[in-house]
Amino acid sequence: MRKLFIGIVLAVLLASIALLYIISTEKRSLIVTTTTSLYATGLLDELKAKFESKNPGVMVKFIATGTGEALKRASQGGVDLVLVHAPSLEKEYAEKGVIEKNGSIFAYNYFILVGPSADPAGASGKSVIDAFKSIYSAGERGKVLFISRGDRSGTNVREMQIWRMAGLNPKNKSWYIESGSDMVTTLSIANEKQAYTLVDVGTWLFMKDKLGLRVIVDRGDELINIYSVYIVPSGNVRDASAFKEFILSKEGQETINSFKGGGLFFSAIWPVDNTKWLRETWEKWSKIKG
């Protein structure tokens, strides 16, 4: 009995070590750094599966982090493509030559301002800027809390841009809490403290049933969330270009638009070419410091 037990354990150990080294090396790697908000929904795995069935020689490998870290990793090399959503950071890294100058917008959706159902700041129904102003003044009166990601992610950059547009600086205020964590953790903190926070629609949709928070503002140009794809010139440009082309192709765009029944991500090019106004919006955000 004991011998059998030990035998099984040893077999598992050896089999797993063997497994590690029988990784197929025939395929070319395509390393893509991306944001958690795209990856966690499962959209990228769907795009990967369709792309790999057409390009059997390539293995797409996603590394999901925040936009800040995704671009930073690209600047250190070893990355071939980035999928990100922070125009001002994208511009910065494009100017440094880390990513290609002219990336392509491939999808968009929205950020949402969420908060406690009682809405003690009275922000509901207002424009985004006015809602942030209400939260600021209610915060100063000690009535509400705001939770910020505080991690240079795309969502965090946008939040900082909105504060700047409102002419306010909440940093170091006692009611302004920087979680330094991912979106789900930040939402959970907002839920525990019954505070306001900015969230991308994807994360909100899969988390909302677990939370006692509601949508405060979900309309306004300030809330458009633009996802762009960039080739890293120092990487595997050939396969990166192929994957980029696939994302922008009719099939790729259809996959994005109809993902999980639709409504989570909107395609940028097909069936309606939204590139013009998306690019204008992108340009506007790329100039505002986060």
């Binding site: 030990i6 598992v12 089999a15 070590i17 996603f62 590394i63 090399g77 070893g78 939402l187 899969f206």
Partner: protein, 212 residues
Amino acid sequence: MVTPLEIAEISLRSIAISGTASIIAAVISIPLSLFLCLRDFKGKNLILEILNSMVSLPTVVIGLLLYYLLTRTGPLGFLDLMYTPIAMVIGQAILIIPLMTIFMERALDSRKDVVEVAISLGASNSQAAHRLFLDSLPGIISSVLVGFNRAIGELGVALMLGGNIKGFTRVMTTAIALEVSKGEFELGISLGFILVCISLLLTSAISRMARR
């Protein structure tokens, strides 16, 4: 979301990476701890203290240091090891060497009287060291297991150097972190429980084997 087959695959990958890292770390730690135990020299205690405090180094910091070493623009970038299981093996091995060496040194030190006896019976220095090693084997093996368990449970190195790539560098701890970021807290706890069970199974089997 995660199929049982995927969980099995991720578990095996965790065992393989941390197991290989433990073997490499043991190969380095055994001679190092023998040296520290048998030789008396100035600064020996300082070395032990430094090793001890290195155990407190956050795993993500070790991951970061190795990141700059292994990344394509870094000094070892030509090896093209970033975002591979091999990078994770190297990182985890470096992570657990101080821990293993300290535990091994303690195990050897508690049996040090063997050396004097062996030498008084006419053994050479290397024969005495060999005797000491054999007598301390159970302690050595449990040191290796402590290192293995530290490696399989760590997150920072795996995330920084491996990148949590599905089907390639995704291990238990990075899978748990991903599930948490997806809001799948219950699945995260279940995976954590599986990880502890794997560790318990391996630890008990290997220590039973060592006792025989």
